[in-house]
């Protein structure tokens, strides 16, 4: 491979437009739109303080598109694309990554196929060339495919006894019985066993394209250099993916209670109901409402009532779970088998209290200052900022989103929170899965 020659290539001029200044207080994060000569776009935050570059990419579409009999395909592709590409077999490819201290890996979730490159600046060109090879000429040789399948199957088997995994799988299966979201994105022992090199090659050629790609880059690189690298790295991908996305789906929340017997002292409970998608106009209002109910701090109502006042659980909370084709409000709690009924009583009564509009201006204000103030706290590594850049593009938030986010949250008012609480929270439609040996819980028929 002649990657050393790459540095001699003429760098074609890229278009760099600084469009967004994220002003917290003193410092600022400047997001630049970089468009390559061939028209491939990436969002960039330059940071030349340390000789490191973090690249994050995502292709729209993920495990939801895996056919039922090939469940786990996206996940296996993510695990094997860095196991040999072009003229490099698996061990050679991995040895180059190790010797050059390059992190290059892929991941699959319900809606995305993601990629990550983290490298010293001096190895950036080589890193991106390895990324190009992995995306466009992965080998999927028999040895690494068999090896990774055996590792993934071992993981699936271990997971089959993990309370949390069992609970989430049962919840999603009930919520999305006829949709890819209802299947575990890891696949099953049977489906993963049956996956072939042909499946993996088809995956790469039909799902990874320029048309469904977004790229975020942070670190020690200029727009000019990045622009040239974008063409070299992604220029040979197909223009558009040819596998269709899954259809939109309405969560089948009916208020059912499922119990999965497992001989453990603590029951793991997953609960949830229909929520909303990221592009819903009510998104920020529901985000604030959920924060008060069960959001991420030591101060939510569920935390206060279930953990602080009653000592029922170590961890409890709820989150918005926006997917591309559906939305959920999803939460979990773990409690002693004997106290499951009491915990569910408190959960349901808090759900109802919020739904009836019992919210104070003080609670609203506290939630808003938290959601506004905590956002920049994640901006403390190049990788974390690059992930935000990808997420902004995937969700169509606009390159000036960082400037406007505070105003979006600020606009949420008490009337809005009461309205969405009544609209979204329905205790009779709150689906519950309990894994353990809960006392006195009768599953739905």
């Amino acid at each position: 491979m002649n990657w050393r020659m790459k540095k001699l290539y003429v760098i074609l001029l890229a278009v760099a437009l600084p469009l967004s200044l994220l002003s917290f207080q003193a410092a600022a994060v400047e997001v630049e739109r970089v468009v390559s000569p061939q028209g491939i776009e990436a969002w960039l935050v330059q940071d030349h303080s340390n000789p490191v570059v973090s690249v994050r990419l995502a292709f729209r579409g993920g495990a939801e598109m895996d056919p039922a009999d090939k469940a786990g395909l996206a996940n296996l592709a993510a695990s094997t694309m860095d196991e040999g590409a072009g003229e490099f077999d698996s061990q050679t490819f991995q040895q180059i990554l190790a010797d050059q201290s390059i992190t290059l890996r892929f991941s699959a979730s319900n809606d995305r196929f993601g990629g990550e490159v983290t490298t010293l600046t001096e190895n950036l060109d080589q890193s991106m060339d390895l990324l190009r090879l992995a995306l466009t000429q992965p080998r999927f040789d028999d040895e690494p495919v068999a090896r990774l399948k055996s590792q993934l199957i071992a993981g699936i088997q271990s997971d089959s006894q993990r309370p949390g995994k069992l609970a989430y799988n049962a919840f999603f299966k009930a919520m999305f019985p006829d949709h890819g979201y209802g299947r575990d994105s890891d696949g099953t022992v049977e489906s993963v066993t049956g996956l072939t090199q042909a499946d993996l090659k088809a995956f790469v050629h039909t799902r990874l394209a320029r048309g469904n790609l977004v790229v975020g880059v942070v670190g020690d690189v200029t727009p000019e250099r990045l622009g040239a690298l974008l063409d070299k790295t992604f220029g040979t991908l197909p223009a558009q993916p040819t596998t269709p996305r899954a259809a939109d789906v309405v969560p089948n929340a009916t208020g059912r209670v499922q119990v999965i017997e497992l001989d453990v002292p603590q029951s793991t409970i997953v609960f949830g109901q229909a929520g909303l998608k990221r592009d819903d106009p009510d998104f920020y209002t529901v985000l604030v409402m959920n924060h008060i109910l069960g959001g991420g701090s030591f101060t939510s109502r569920l935390y206060e009532e279930i953990r602080e006042k009653r000592g029922l659980a170590y961890s409890v909370g709820s989150d918005l779970y926006p997917l591309d084709h559906a939305g959920l409000i999803l939460g979990s709690v773990g409690t002693e088998n004997a106290r499951v009924a009491e915990t569910l009583d408190v959960l349901r009564s808090e759900w109802t209290r919020m739904a009836t509009g019992d919210v104070s201006a003080q609670e609203l204000n506290n939630a808003k200052t938290y959601i506004t103030g905590s956002f920049p706290l994640t901006f403390t590594s190049t990788g974390a900022i690059a992930r935000v850049l990808v997420s902004m593009q995937i969700n169509g938030l606009g390159i000036d989103y960082l400037d406007h986010r505070k105003a979006y949250i600020g606009a949420v008012d008490l009337a809005g929170v009461k309205r969405v609480a009544a609209e979204y929270l329905h205790v009779d439609k709150l689906d519950i899965v309990v894994v353990g040996k809960p006392a006195g819980i009768v599953p739905s028929p």
Binding site: S101, R147, R307, G311, Y314, T380, S381, G383, A384
Partner: protein, 451 residues
């Protein structure tokens, strides 16, 4: 949103994965000073985002608990959020959340840490709160009873429901027997933890929480003068307690050793491990630490390591295999081998194959250029570690709280750079010859030896 336990190996990995690209400059180059009451202060400026991480580390962890009171260090960590006369009723967390801050705490065997991440203009607020609760904690019996229930649920979540965690709890008593503090779980033995009282918690608090037993670490968008001004205002007025120096954590008790086997219906993937006592930064042949780190990297770290190549790729016996080396404990260190077999392979076959492959390194020595490649990779990790604001804070805080010197972090590149081939082989021979070792086996019920 969980107040967490932190195992020694987590911070070990951080503390050891470091280096500076500039020839022999320090890794993080912190500013340090000591307040007149004995509190050490470490400042790590990083101006990427207007964010600051404020941490207080106490040189007291689960290993410092009085006999019969296991779990009290961790229970106290939870109780520290309850309140003081000035900030009662959980106001600590509420104030931080209202200002958009994130916070948590952790307990390890050797130390307990409290940390908040806030916008840089909120540093004074969190420092006032943290200094206040260093000596003014107020606990009601009811607070303690409720929090004890939470901690027991945490125990259920972390240990009781997990066969691998239960196995580890059993095995550590055999590596660290006779009441050695490393032989008990951080969260405590259930029977002892259940019986803990408000007085137990307050007594541990009085014995250990004081400025002369604490380290302040501030990282992020700050300058040293500002940290100094605020630390003088909030921490310096707290009187020192003149606490006795921590005794070295050594024991002459013979270890029980042998095999610890746990069989459980819920085990679907068998696994094997071997834990061998080795030097740490404070105990034993400390000059061997760097060579052991290099050894662990080349023998068992990642997909290009010797063990992975031999047992996962070339002879497909295992789904996973590797080594760990934990040097950052205040007491003895450990070198660990671990593996999970492929279906049809027994744990005895896999452990034998690990031994054979390890012996091959003894017999044949290192390959040409192997050491240089490993060292280059290890040294590059330091540049990456400077990428995250919190990495230096955790590495340095953990080292100092375990009684190690700042140089153990800052001079790490020099130590790794100086390791030669013979040092690696000597370290390996010492690992192989060490009699203080235990084996663990995690197996499904009634399925033989993992095959």
């Amino acid at each position: 949103m969980t107040k967490t336990l932190l195992r020694i190996c987590v911070v070990g990995a951080l503390a050891l994965g470091l280096w500076s690209g500039q020839a022999m400059a320090g890794v993080f180059n912190p500013e340090t000073f000591t307040l007149k009451n004995g509190m050490d202060v470490v400042v790590l400026p990083n101006h990427r985002a207007p964010v600051v991480l404020h941490m207080v580390w106490y040189k007291a962890g689960a290993a410092d608990e009085p006999k019969g009171k296991s779990g009290v260090a961790h229970l106290l960590e939870h109780l520290m959020f309850k309140g003081t006369p000035k900030h009662p009723d959980g106001e600590f967390s509420k104030l931080i959340a209202q200002h958009g801050g994130e916070e948590n705490a952790f307990t390890s065997l050797d130390y307990t840490g409290y940390h908040q991440t806030v916008a840089s203009d909120q540093l004074e607020m969190v420092m006032e709160l943290e200094a206040d609760r260093m000596t003014h904690l107020v606990l009601s019996a009811e607070d303690v009873a409720t929090e004890l229930a939470v901690v027991l649920e945490e125990r259920n979540q972390r240990l009781e429901g997990k066969p691998a965690a239960r196995l580890s709890e059993q095995a550590m008593q055999k590596l660290f027997p006779k009441g050695h503090p490393y032989g008990r779980p951080i969260i405590g033995w259930r029977a002892e933890t259940e019986a803990l009282s408000r007085e137990d918690a307050l007594s541990f608090y009085k014995d250990h929480y004081a400025p002369d037993n604490a380290i302040l670490v501030v990282a992020g968008d700050v300058d040293v003068a500002e940290v100094k001004r605020l630390a003088e205002k909030y921490y310096a007025p707290i009187p020192p307690r003149g606490l006795p120096k921590r005794a070295p954590l050594t024991t002459d008790a013979p270890i029980i050793g042998g095999e610890t086997v746990l069989r459980d219906d819920r085990v679907k993937q068998a696994s094997w491990s071997e834990h061998i006592i080795q030097p740490s930064l404070t105990n034993g042949e400390t000059r061997r630490v760097a060579a052991l780190e290099v050894l662990s990297e080349l023998l068992g770290s990642g997909g290009t390591s010797r063990l992975y190549k031999a047992l996962v790729i070339e002879r497909p016996l295992a789904v996973s295999v590797g080594t760990d080396y934990m040097a950052s404990a205040r007491g003895d260190g450990q070198f660990v081998f671990y593996a999970s077999p492929r279906p049809g392979v027994s744990l005895d076959e896999i452990s034998k194959a690990v031994r054979l492959e390890t012996q091959r390194l003894v017999d044949e020595g290192l390959a040409d250029g192997e050491l240089a490649r490993i060292k280059k990779r290890m040294l590059a990790d330091a540049i990456f570690s400077r990428d995250a604001m919190k990495a230096g804070a955790y590495a340095i805080g953990g080292a100092l709280a375990s009684g190690h010197k700042l140089e153990s972090v800052e001079d790490w590149p020099e130590h790794i750079g100086a390791v030669g081939e013979q040092d690696v082989l000597d370290a390996l021979n010492a690992v192989l010859a060490e009699p203080r070792r235990i084996t663990t086996k995690l197996l499904a019920n009634g399925k033989g030896d993992g095959a």
